[in-house]
Symmetry: C2
Subunit: 514 residues, 2 copies
């Protein structure tokens, strides 16, 4: 353009002008390259195969998925089926979690399409196959915060993210609901998918619903999306809203929930402006119901509720009892609707939610969290991953993230399930270490971690049925006896990581005769 020679200018290198001298031709070429990009502004490609090829997927690479569609997800199976047809092998499947509906993946493991899996949890046929040794490489289990951290630090680098979205415009702004179709499939928050979109080398959105530009507010911004594939169906609405989030009528669970609410009241944290999270599972979810009564009675409002947001949380929010909702995952349709319509129901990313080493995650601001468990042991270690037969049947979720972050972490669990004791000497699998668990609430008494003698006193003063955890274990044993030890082989099928990525436990293959 103008007449000048950059090489004659001192200090240019200091200015970071390292691409050196001005070159009119280069500028025009850059411009042409930019112009060429315009033909890609509409990012919708004709097929999934096309998107995969454009993204440059190669054997051995890491592909990622979110689990916002829970047990109604069609995306993971759909993509793996296609990748198998295309002849891919040795892929690392990094999902934020996997459900019962992902049984068909077993075939792709056996055939070598999937070499390794990273996930928060496994259930059903896939979990069963993994527990019985179908994979050569152990599955790596991470908490939601741990996964965000691993992605951010490139301990878990993602090559191609395949992200299902209930709405997306032609340029890639995607969200967990659609405003065009009142009855369209909705998952609400896209919180877990946000990290994938931000850090993946290539991001592909799969959607059944292309909407007008700009699809704002957006869960995932166009600036992080490479390709869009339109598909008939991304998931089953029934499956998306079912599963772990049912509302209990079970009297034992209601008793536990009511006791947990009383524990919160007695903990000194039940004050105006307090903050809370409740995990999945009947008793945990039902706590909200009892808290509501207490909040109305004492005219106490919460500053925010965090995490997986449920319809009952939304009711409290709309009643003015909870000021704000920070939503990394909407657990039901009511929550998804609220995210769409309530200004202070905010979509947050998994990193914002729970990453242990960003500049500050929301879990650190929790006063109380109520979390379910499959088993708790006398050191307060919690197992939410493996069943009493040693087979994988759960997910870490945000369990250790919130147990760590909350001032008071309350684990709720029946003393026994059927003929199975839930308070034991030693959990089969340590997921959340006992040192970050404060109180265990069962239907036959509560126990307070001896690391918190003050808290134990507060519970006793409130007239709560406090006993030692050993007493709870003994009560369980008196009722159902001590189960025979599970038989395992030496093979490690699962590695359980703590939120910082360190290995906290391993899961072994169950013996065939077990």
């Amino acid at each position: 353009m103008a007449n000048f020679d950059l090489t004659q200018i001192p200090h240019l290198e200091e200015c970071g002008m390292l691409h050196g001298a001005f070159d009119a031709e280069a500028l025009v070429k850059n411009s042409n390259t930019l112009r060429e990009r315009e033909i890609l502004h509409n990012k919708i490609v004709p097929s999934l195969e096309d998107a995969v090829l454009r993204a440059g997927l190669k054997d051995g690479m890491t592909i990622s998925f979110h689990h916002h569609f829970r047990n109604g997800d069609y995306i993971v199976n759909m993509v793996l089926d296609r990748l198998a047809q295309m002849g891919y092998r040795d892929l690392v499947l990094a999902a934020s979690s996997l459900s019962e509906c992902h049984g068909p993946l077993v075939r792709h493991i056996r055939s070598g399409v999937i070499r390794r899996i990273e996930t928060s949890g496994l259930r059903g046929e896939l979990a069963d196959a993994v527990s019985h040794g179908v994979m050569e490489c152990p599955v790596v289990f991470r908490s939601h915060g741990g996964r965000a951290y691993a992605i951010e630090t490139e301990e878990l680098p993602i090559d191609v993210a395949f992200l299902g979205a209930p709405s997306c415009d032609a340029y890639g702004n995607a969200n967990g609901y659609s405003r065009d179709e009142k009855d369209g499939l909705a998952c609400g928050s896209m919180g877990y998918a946000k990290c994938d979109a931000q850090y993946a080398k290539h991001t592909i959105i799969l959607t059944d619903h292309i909407v007008a530009y700009p699809n704002a507010p957006f869960g995932i911004p166009e600036s992080e999306v490479d390709y869009i594939v339109q598909v008939d169906k991304i998931g089953d609405p029934q499956g998306i809203m079912s599963g772990a989030t049912r509302f209990t009528q079970n009297p034992k669970e209601l008793l536990i929930a009511e006791t947990a609410a009383r524990v919160i009241e007695a903990s000194g944290r039940f004050k105006d402006g307090f903050s809370l999270q409740t995990g999945t599972g009947g008793a945990s979810l039902a706590v909200t119901r009892f808290l509501r009564e207490m909040m109305l009675r004492d005219r106490i409002t919460a500053s925010f509720a965090l995490g997986g947001i449920t319809g009952s949380m939304v009711e409290l929010h709309e009643e003015g009892l909870i000021k704000k909702l920070l939503d990394v995952q909407s657990f039901d349709l009511r929550a998804a609707e609220s995210l769409k319509n309530n200004r202070f129901h905010q979509q947050i990313s998994a990193s914002y939610y729970a990453s242990p080493f960003n500049e500050g995650a929301a879990v650190n601001q929790l006063d109380v969290v109520v979390l379910s468990a499959l088993e708790v042991d006398c050191d307060y270690n919690v197992n939410v991953l493996t069943g009493s037969d040693g087979v994988i049947r759960g997910a870490i979720g945000g369990h250790p993230d919130t147990a760590y972050g909350a001032s008071v972490s309350i684990v709720v669990c029946p003393l026994i399930r059927g003929r199975i004791p839930c308070v034991v000497d030693r959990v089969e699998t340590v997921v959340t270490p006992g040192r970050i668990v404060d109180v265990l609430v069962t239907d036959r008494g509560i126990a307070v971690n001896p690391r918190n003698p003050d808290l134990a006193e507060m519970m006793k003063d409130a007239g709560l049925p406090v006993c030692s955890i050993e007493e709870l274990r003994d009560r369980a044993e008196r009722i159902v006896g001590r189960p025979d030890p599970i038989c395992y082989t030496d093979k490690v099928v699962g590695i359980v990581t703590y939120r910082d990525g360190s290995v906290i436990d391993v899961i072994r293959q169950v013996a065939e005769d077990a």
Copy 2:
């Protein structure tokens, strides 16, 4: 915890479990480190000095600022004064832009506190001093999109970002308005600051208004904020809302605005669902007024308006004439209020707005943009940086970003200003290259870039006063003559980059007798 030896597990390295064998002690230590972080959960530090020391700022490092407070900004001067007192030297000051109010920086340049400056623009005393050679290193000028790109690619790495915010909670969720204080200072969108917070090694928020946690919705998330400093005043509300965004009563500007609206109508882009951006400057802003009449007349609505959002855009939005507002910078209080209250008025980052090489910026979706100019030349090159005396007096802003992205880029400019011709043979400084400019609208006729013969035909068919740009230049010269050339020294005081970081022009020191 459990009894296992990781070194015995095959495939562990493949799993990325490179931190090796499980070590219970290490786990506890990790935990302690995490626990230690809890004491920092309240990120408010006692003083700016304290924040600077904690952030580890060293001589020669790069510090960054946003310009959302425009000419009312107190932050840049406040921080540099303190850094000077602390004895810092050789700093690189990377602001998204600088204004008249930043004249006091000249002192810090002379004393060696500031070695180099990156910015979108300079005005007033600081611009004057730079143009007269006060700095050894040339100032690097970047467009808003170009700056986002430079930050994303680490061509411009930021060590410490100092970001003023009208509200912030104790954990770092910051925003451009406050909901607690109706009359508090507000700047609306924090769009330019978002990139700084995301990529800076350390981010410090300076605020006059600490609010309850969580300050959601947030412009800047807690997960990207290290320290918070509470200060008396972050800016002057008068200065924030003044300046480039006044609404014109000038008949010449209104004529230009009306003609520009007719150009849009004639361009074939004025259809239901079209998209638009108007830059700063009287004529450019006034276009909205004329567009509104046309939209009501033809029952046409726009899908979105982009960029610096003004009160007049908000009026059209609230009337239902513009469906969504994508706001990287709120130009007035009306816009800031709307961002706070209107669900479809969305805060976007500078990268989302205009970065040339992310996966897709919003500027690429623009149908029309109307942009001001100081000078335009016969190759349609536009100068928005230097005045007729060769002295810096403007800012690149999103000029080349939107001119590139929009299908039709319209530059508006009076033919002459006082005794100065605005259409010239050769602009003093090339900021936006002519090849991405489509139409020039003046008060004495319009010219269409010969690269767009079809567009020229459409303008003629619509009865618009089309002529060649050389005719416009000749008309200007006939009225005011051809000014004497500006006298420069050989010293380069400014480097003008195109949005991809390549050098498109340089600015030289004006001779002392000029």
